[in-house]
């Protein structure tokens, strides 16, 4: 397994950073091309094209039901897990179509991690085992260092280092969500999808998650769905506004919130609807 990982690094990543620098190697870009997604008869994403720049955070905003969660679920093909759901179009990770022939959905999800709306640590596993869960799929042994580094990456290490053997669901909501982020980071994905990661959390935990997003940009490409416009303004480099399954407008976050091109975007960001 380790040789495969090595192969990936050498063939795809051109220039690994200096060894001692904590900033990780560049992540990869995601491009969504002419994506359409349905739940049964309901056409919830319509012909959407959008790029997620590497090592940047892109926020998807829009009223509920506008299809923003569906977009990110299409990126790592979680969408197809829902009965009756289907999608068409292309989702490129660098140059490879995630939906292409011969692409294994399992491999896709390993490269593109995901954090869900509700913290969902495995209830039967300890904190350590939760973080190690993804690693254990491919490795026989998971080292303490790997788990520690993932927990540090999620900003949770100091809080849990003394109780790694305790159940993950004994943590507070905010800690659970950071545990889930650590779990996703542990397998070293290139992209991290965050589907309203703070919507179930209190303001302080939310702030911690937002700080974390800023830090994580050095390691991964981030797509974050949020219904909270302040949050988008705080964490995202680029913001996309969706309405009724269509992409209305995408641009630098500052522009979207101060000087959008489309009047619907302006109405939404100024709180006229949604």
């Amino acid at each position: 397994m380790s040789d495969l990982a090595a192969q990936r690094t050498t063939t795809v990543r051109p220039a690994p950073g200096p060894a001692l620098q904590p900033v990780a190697s560049p992540a990869r870009a995601v491009t969504v091309e002419r994506l359409n997604a349905w739940y049964g008869d309901q056409h919830s994403v319509k012909d959407l094209t959008l790029s997620f720049a590497p090592n940047r955070a892109t926020a998807l905003i829009g009223p509920s039901g506008s299809g923003k969660s569906t977009v990110v679920r299409c990126v790592n093909r979680m969408h197809e897990e829902i009965p009756g759901a289907r999608a068409s179009g292309r989702v490129l990770l660098d140059d490879t179509d995630v939906y292409g022939d011969g692409v294994d959905v399992v491999a896709v999800r390993r490269a593109i991690g995901m954090v869900f709306q509700k913290p969902n640590p495995f209830p039967t596993m300890s904190i350590f085992d939760n973080v190690a869960a993804g690693l254990r799929l491919t490795a026989r042994k998971v080292s303490h260092d790997q788990v520690e580094s993932a927990l540090r990456g999620a900003g949770l290490w100091e809080e849990v280092k003394d109780r790694l053997a305790k159940p993950g669901i004994g943590l507070s909501g905010g800690q659970q969500q950071r545990l889930c982020i650590a779990r996703a980071l542990a397998v070293e994905p290139d992209v991290l999808l965050m589907d309203e990661p703070a919507s179930a959390l209190d303001p302080i935990s939310t702030l911690k998650i937002e700080e974390l997003v800023q830090e994580l940009k050095s390691r991964v490409t981030i797509a974050i769905v949020t219904h909270n416009m302040q949050q988008a303004a705080r964490v995202a480099d680029q913001t996309a506004f969706m309405l009724d399954g269509e992409l209305v407008e995408v641009g630098p976050t500052e522009k979207i919130f101060t000087n959008p091109d489309d009047s619907r975007t302006e109405e939404y960001v100024t709180g006229k609807f949604g």
Binding site: R8, V12, R28, T96, G100, D104, R110, L137
Partner: protein
């Protein structure tokens, strides 16, 4: 595989996944084999016995000549299960109504639920023993073995099934319905009989049919309560024949024609029970509550 973008899933993991999924599917297939085999053999062995006479004559008990039909067994099963249902259904539904409408979370209600659970687990032969001890030994009603004693054992068996299923559907009746009726000034008994029970009726009927299906197939509770005779009997104070007892008696016989009768009776019994079960499912699906 085709792309450099993704670290491919290792062949080992892929193989494990395929193998495990195939095994699960295979085991599911294995689970269906016995049912197919049983139904096949039932039809193959039993169909030969079936004729109009088969249903309209009593077994003769003769080892050599004509073994007769199964009329008394069918009638006996219907009569005994009918009486059992006539007792178990009102009592069972009554207990369920008490649990849902009156007992609720009280200590007594917990105790009753516990004892109903205990009854569900009691082996059917032990119910037979109980009836034997209390009714047969003492010669209650002036006879030793009697159909009504068999019915009592069957009723004990049905009671927990009826109660559990009725309780589940009664709990599904929305409180808003009850409150609406109370707000109109309806007394409690009217709310129970006019609102709650009619709403839950399809679900209750489903449970009753399943309990009847279960009781109709039981042999053990009848062994030493109703025993078995060959002739058709209508008197509940006498022994009565039944399909399961007839099959059980005939299995041990060395005469092929008696065994054929057993297969024919088994086919009849399974057909009756399957119809009841499917009818129960149909009603359940129609019901809006579940």
């Amino acid at each position: 595989m085709s792309s450099v973008a993704f670290a491919p899933v290792s062949a080992r993991r892929r193989r494990t996944d395929k193998l495990a999924r195939a095994s699960v599917a295979l085991l599911t297939g294995v689970a269906l084999v016995p049912l197919a085999l049983i139904l096949y053999y039932l039809v193959k062995q039993g169909i030969g016995a079936i004729s109009l006479d088969f249903f309209t004559t009593d077994p003769t008990g003769s080892f050599l000549g004509d073994p007769g039909g199964i009329k008394s067994a069918i009638l006996g099963t219907v009569l005994m299960v009918g009486l059992a249902a006539a007792v178990a259904v009102p009592v069972g539904v009554g207990v369920a109504v008490w649990l849902v409408e009156f007992g609720r979370a009280s200590k007594l209600a917990h105790a009753v639920r516990y004892f109903i659970d205990v009854m569900t687990g009691v082996p059917s032969i032990v119910f037979g023993l109980f009836v034997y001890i209390t009714l047969v030994i003492g010669g209650a009603g002036g006879s030793s073995f009697a159909a009504w004693k068999g019915s009592t054992a069957l009723a004990l068996l049905m009671l927990p099934i009826v109660t559990r299923s009725a309780e589940v559907v009664l709990l599904l009746v929305p409180d808003a319905l009850r409150e609406a009726a109370y707000a109109l000034g309806a007394p409690r008994w009217k709310v129970v009989f006019r609102v709650v029970l009619p709403t839950a009726l399809p679900g209750i009927v489903t449970g009753v049919l399943l309990a009847v299906a279960r009781a109709a197939g039981e042999t053990a509770p009848l062994l030493f309560t109703a025993a078995a005779v060959n002739a058709t009997a209508f008197n509940y104070n006498d022994s009565m024949n039944s399909l399961p007892m007839l099959i059980f008696k005939n299995v041990g016989q060395a005469q092929d024609r008696l065994v054929t009768i057993a297969w024919g009776a088994a086919l009849t019994l399974v057909a009756m029970i399957l119809m009841l079960t499917l009818l129960a499912r149909l009603i359940q699906r129609r019901s809006r509550l579940s």
